[in-house]
Subunit: 195 residues, 2 copies
């Protein structure tokens, strides 16, 4: 167990001492609520109840915090998809569960961060790289699941792209416009096993 480390961390917190990770978490909160543009030093310092000057012990500047946030996000997403895609159950069930994570807004904060970072990536090279890394792993793992359903390589790749395109696009539309029936039709059509 790591209870020793955890207790040490707790002691640090008690002494009102922060680490870089505390700033990254605060940055992710801001990103979820208002986009990457709202990751700003002074409001974050206020939320963490320290002066803005202390920020510069942990990061050289605002950009460094954003870069660290992107790296942390990419790492977490890659670990998550590997865990979710590696399952002992049937591939169709695994894919259905993956889709559910997006469709039922199980984690609206995660989805908000995801969309905010993808929007930011259109004008920022660092974010583009993070998104590219995550997409590569997700499409690889989901392609493998479609391959397990019987599709040849190229078809499996196309379906993996459709799978994620639909899930992301859906969350950009006004939620009221997307009926549960429409989602069910789309996902079940994708999950048809290869003939």
């Amino acid at each position: 167990m790591e209870s020793g480390t955890a207790m040490a961390k707790q002691a640090e917190r008690k002494a009102d001492r922060l680490d870089a990770h505390a700033w990254i978490e605060a940055a992710l909160d801001a990103t979820a609520k208002g986009g990457v543009g709202t990751v700003r030093v002074e409001p974050l310092a206020a939320a963490l109840k320290v002066t803005k000057g202390s920020f510069y012990w942990h990061f050289v500047d605002r950009q460094a915090l954003i870069d660290a946030m992107l790296a942390h996000w990419a790492e977490g997403r890659i670990a998550a998809i590997r865990q979710h895609a590696t399952s002992t159950e049937a591939p169709a069930a695994t894919l259905r569960k993956l889709a559910d994570l997006y469709i039922h807004h199980a984690n609206w904060r995660g989805l908000a961060i995801e969309l905010a970072i993808r929007a930011f990536a259109h004008g920022n090279a660092g974010a583009r790289k993070a998104v590219r890394t995550v997409d590569k792993e997700r499409l690889k793992d989901v392609k493998a699941l479609f391959a397990a359903l019987g599709w040849p390589s190229q078809e499996a790749q196309a379906r993996a792209v459709l799978f994620y395109s639909y899930l992301f696009g859906r969350s950009l539309l006004d939620v009221n416009a997307v009926t549960p029936q429409a989602s069910a039709i789309a996902i079940e059509a994708l999950l048809q096993p290869a003939r």
Copy 2:
């Protein structure tokens, strides 16, 4: 014709006098390049070669500019979809042309603005309302096209949602991951006439 008005406008421009629309266009440029968060008074004033003080003749504050930009965007998108969806050609051809507008990045600036505003809408009520208005019209018009292909109301609505979900989602993914084949498979599957 409106050449009289146009010439008067030109004269104004010549005298280095701006109207609210010039600021809105500059705001849209910023939105396309860096997201709504980069719509900032001083950089915009610099781009328009006026002092930032003059901005406040046209708008009460930065938020008013963003609101005006959103209203202008929504109006333009609604006019555009009405024009594109009202066609004398076959409904499948009309839908294929609509999809092409997104897939072949005919207008990357328009797509960047679209995605930036949709991302912003997740944390902003005004942007949410603009997106909702545009979605309502687009889904209505595209649903009518699918209905013309023979689908009953509910199926037509589901396909309209899939149509836009896919087009938006696709543009969030790393473009390199989305092969032309995958796009063709998706769009042609949607455009199958009702049996």
